[in-house]
């Protein structure tokens, strides 16, 4: 559905993305993950036909996004970051306008707009001016707009940014359901989102692809690299110093609540330090209340990847 080869985009002075290559197959939900400024939006804007790449090529549904831009654009629904909308229009009016612009046949406009309003929960605000809508509703209007012409591919740039937790859950559910009929490329810097919704993940950092795999495989790679949580009464000891001396421990942070200290340890891949910690605790006469291994999350994968990048 999407094919990207050696895509590079340079702005005056900076390179937003360099040499990006990836493919997204029919029916996949691809997560595009990276810190702010990693080049996610740039890539999506190029794919949506909004701006041309400096070099390389990209195609959507078999159409080159630059030389066959119009056909490519007809196959995708794009929701830009921050969802710019015409504030002077009403919700239904705006969606009617967008549907006509995207070539939805005249007699089907009403039905399609009704459907997407239903789907995105816009029924109760359909007559409101867009200017008066809250952030969450604006986001939904943007999503409804992306869906209105029944595109094969959805490109969603930060679809849950600025929403409250309930709305985030709703949008995630919606995206999961949409994934049954559409191919989706969504960007985010919120990790659990990707873990919950996506079938594959691309991690970009500083304009490069750092990893591309299923969330499970990425987690598997560094299953051990998670962390260990220790809660103990250390008496007169500082605790952090002693724990740092254990081989395999990369980093210790502590949190004090009364007598009890909670230590979070980041450890190297493939090392289990719990036994060492137990020995240390008995040797120093610490009272242990918790000693557990935290399950690795994509957060760890992310930190791992971006961390090595920084130290390299």
């Amino acid at each position: 559905m999407i094919k990207v080869e050696n895509l590079t985009k340079r702005y005056a002075g900076t390179t937003a993305i360099r040499d990006l290559s990836f493919e997204v197959g029919q029916g996949e939900i691809m997560g595009f993950l990276g810190p702010n400024g990693a080049g996610k939006s740039t890539t999506m804007r190029i794919l949506a036909g909004f701006m041309p790449p400096t070099s390389g090529r990209a195609s959507v549904a078999g159409f080159d996004v630059f030389s066959q831009s119009l056909q490519a654009r007809a196959h995708l629904g794009y929701m830009p970051e921050n969802v710019p909308l015409y504030n002077d229009m009403r919700v239904t009016e705006y969606l009617n306008y967008r549907a006509a612009l995207k070539g939805v046949p005249h007699r089907r406009v009403k039905e399609r707009v009704g459907d997407v309003q239903e789907l995105c929960g816009l029924k109760d605000v359909e007559k409101r001016l867009i200017a008066t809508l809250s952030k969450g509703y604006r986001q939904r209007v943007g999503l409804a707009d992306a869906l209105v012409a029944e595109p094969d591919l959805l490109i969603l740039d930060e679809p849950t940014i600025g929403l409250d937790p309930n709305q985030i859950r709703q949008v995630r559910e919606l995206i999961k359901n949409l994934g049954k009929q559409h191919t989706i490329l969504l960007s985010t810097h919120i990790l659990p989102e990707v873990e919950m919704t996506c079938s594959r993940v691309i991690i970009v950092h500083k304009g490069r692809i750092e990893a591309c795999d299923t969330p499970e495989n990425l987690l598997g790679q560094i299953r051990q690299a998670g962390g260990v949580v220790v809660e103990a009464k250390t008496g007169s000891d500082n605790g952090v110093e002693e724990l740092k001396k254990i081989s395999g421990v990369r980093d210790v942070s502590s949190d004090v609540a009364g007598d009890w200290k909670t230590f979070s340890l980041r450890v190297e891949s493939g090392v289990d330090v719990r036994e060492e910690i137990y020995r240390l605790a008995t040797a120093r006469h610490w009272t242990l209340r918790e000693l557990s291994q935290r399950r690795a999350t994509l957060e760890d994968v992310f930190v791992e990847i971006t961390h090595t990048e920084v130290s390299a």
Partner: protein, 251 residues
């Protein structure tokens, strides 16, 4: 074609959604009304060699109101879309760039025509009330309003071009106001520089909107300004289209 009309519909409606449209309408018609009243009062006091209709279109009131409206009409057309970011959903929909440019141009032109339409009533009322003719012939009306259309197209295309260059509406307005004012009053140079050669005067006269209005409002339909303004409008629209496309490379 349907996409073009969809875009055009939104453009025209967007004028009437904003209070600016009504303020421009009210004040423009106020100035025109005052202008009309002054001309009649003035002409009432002495015998004149020209008609009410000629007087209305050939005086300072008309000129100033005329050059002022274009920046107000056109400053927002592109600049606002760039500023709000709505250009992004617009250009990622399957529409062609020229459809966007032409819809903006014709949207502004339609609003401009709505602005002028009520002035035709002035002459109708005048003839009803005074039982005098306001113009020498029907041709004089045709000529005046034809020139308004031609000049309007040209100046609106200049305004569109200025608006595509920036995302700041004020900057767009200042650029178009400066250019339009200079073009409009170019013809007056011949009265200031008395020593310019006669061939130079002819050239300046060819560009002079004031001179064109003098001829056409008498009912003399000259084809030279028709060709001139039509071709210049097309040139400006092509430039606007080019500038619009290059903006995409620099976003």
């Amino acid at each position: 074609m349907r996409k073009f009309f969809t875009l055009l519909g939104r453009e025209v409606r967007s004028y009437f959604y904003s209070p600016i449209a009504y303020i421009v309408l009210v004040f423009f018609l106020l100035v025109c009304g005052v202008n009309f009243y002054f001309q009649i009062t003035y002409m009432n006091q002495r015998p004149m060699a020209y008609t009410v209709e000629e007087a209305f279109f050939n005086n300072v009131f008309f000129w100033f109101a005329f050059v002022l409206i274009f920046p107000l009409i056109t400053m927002r057309v592109f600049a606002e879309e760039f500023k709000l970011g709505t250009i992004e959903p617009l250009l990622t929909a399957p529409v062609r760039d020229w459809q966007v440019v032409l819809s903006k141009f014709f949207g502004a032109l339609i609003f401009y025509l709505v602005l002028w339409a009520p002035t035709a009533l002035y002459f109708l009322f005048f003839e009803r009330v005074t039982h005098q003719t306001a113009a020498g012939s029907w041709g004089a009306y045709w000529g005046s309003y034809l020139l308004l259309l031609l000049l309007g197209s040209f100046y609106i295309s200049i305004g569109c071009f200025a608006s595509v260059l920036t995302k700041n509406q004020i900057i767009a307005a200042i650029i178009s106001f400066a250019v339009i004012t200079m073009l409009f009053f170019l013809g007056l140079i011949q009265f200031i520089m008395l020593d310019v050669s006669s061939s130079m005067r002819d050239v300046l006269g060819y560009f002079s909107a004031i001179e064109h209005m003098g001829t056409l409002s008498r009912g003399i339909i000259d084809t030279r300004p028709i060709v001139f303004y039509t071709s210049m409008t097309i040139v400006m629209l092509v430039l606007t289209h080019q500038a619009f496309q290059t903006r995409k490379w620099r976003l």
